[in-house]
Amino acid sequence: MDGFLLQVFSGLATGSIYAAVGLALVMIYQSTHHINFAQGEMATFATFICWWLIDSGMSYWLAFFLTVGVAFVGGLVIQRVFIRPVERKPVLINVIVFVGLLVIFNAMSGWIFEHTLKAFESPFPVRSAVLPEYISGHQLGSLGVTLAVLLVIYLFFRFTPIGLAMRGAAQNPDSASLVGIRVTWMLALGWGLASAIGAVAGIMMAPIMFLDPNMMGGILLYGFAAALLGGIDNPWGAVAGGFIVGVLENLLGAYVIGSDLKLTVALVLIVGTLTLKPNGLFGQKVVTRV
């Protein structure tokens, strides 16, 4: 039983990171109707920036917030420079731009920060303050940080005029411009937020994984599985999906398939969801009356 609970808690901890990546994917999907394949590499690059800041003597949390800020601006700039020109172009062109960004960020990480594995210190104590027998200090800490991020994002979209405008712009860009919303800026803001959320996920993941340019490759798959399982058009579905994927992956890894085949869980979930329930568990069926 203890072993089981241990797996569940550590699944929730990694699940929160999948949830954050899934949320970032959904946010960009809602405004562009494409999956941002570069999400993981963008997050890795941001994590490298954070590592470099800490390595050059900055305190952890200052580096953390600075990196999130840089990631936000970076996401915004990427949308303005690379995505906006191809917005209304065919799917394939968009996919190629996303893949191009993936390659660019992956190469930049390796080129600037080298391919050697880097240890990334956790800011949290080794021993958890609550339930120390089931969850480590970093797991609890990263769970707390990602939950805080998700809460902030929720409050932002639910209660601020800009959040509402962003939802409107993603959903019906033409109408949004007719009520005076500057749609392209709202989409850019969405990219900034997604990039910032990805950066948080990367920074929380690094102490568990070791930092290298391919760190987020697998995580992106889990995040994608989370987003699809929850429903690609539903941000909170993606969050729920993240936790489900995290726990499922850990339990199956521990008791059924072994840890070598863990990533297969993500792939099976992706294929399974797409074939059996393409809308996902919580996918909104937009109701329209004719």
Binding site: S177, V179, I181
Partner: protein
Amino acid sequence: MSLLQVKDLCAWYGPTQALFNVNFELAEGGITTILGANGAGKTTTLRGVCQTVKTSGEMIFDGKSTSGLSTDKIVRMGVAHVPDGRGTFTGLTVDENLRLGAYTRKDKTAVSEDIEKVYDRFPRLRERFSQQAGTLSGGEQQMLAISRALMLRPKLLLLDEPSFGLAPLIVQEIFEIMKSINQTDGVSMLLVEQNASLALNLADHAYLLETGKVVLAGPAEDIRADETIRRTYLGY
């Protein structure tokens, strides 16, 4: 003084030209209607005013040129547009739709008051305020669309076929409401409508478009009395 002057408006969809040197004026406080058959360029004219299509020509709204301005800037000058298909944010709630309509306004308390006014005018919207707008009936959606546009406190309201797809009784109701908005709130209107007799009853001025050109213009009464109009568009 006219609120909107449009000179030599041309519009294109890709390489296809849809409007050819359209000229019209809209009096402050008045209701002007644009009549015409399908494909004559009525919707495009409204889109041209808001610059959601590629245009050339000169437009002066409220004494200022709007040529080359982006849609959101024109909206901020006080032009509200109820587009064809109503432009409802179907996945957002009724309340959120109304709040988005007031997106450009900074006077928070007045916005809340205006939302109250909308609910007083349309009690059915109050009942459904937390419901997804996509679940409303056609008539309710049209009421929501007009209300959302009014949340901007516009000087000019562009209406694209408000009667489309609605039962005759609901259409009557909507047109009554438009009349009262024009009279009590002093909002000028540019109305595009298939139902020519309804439109001519409401409007004070009318323009007739044929294949992207204005072929007839004048006070609504004169247009209504015109022999060709009567035969072609009013059908008696």
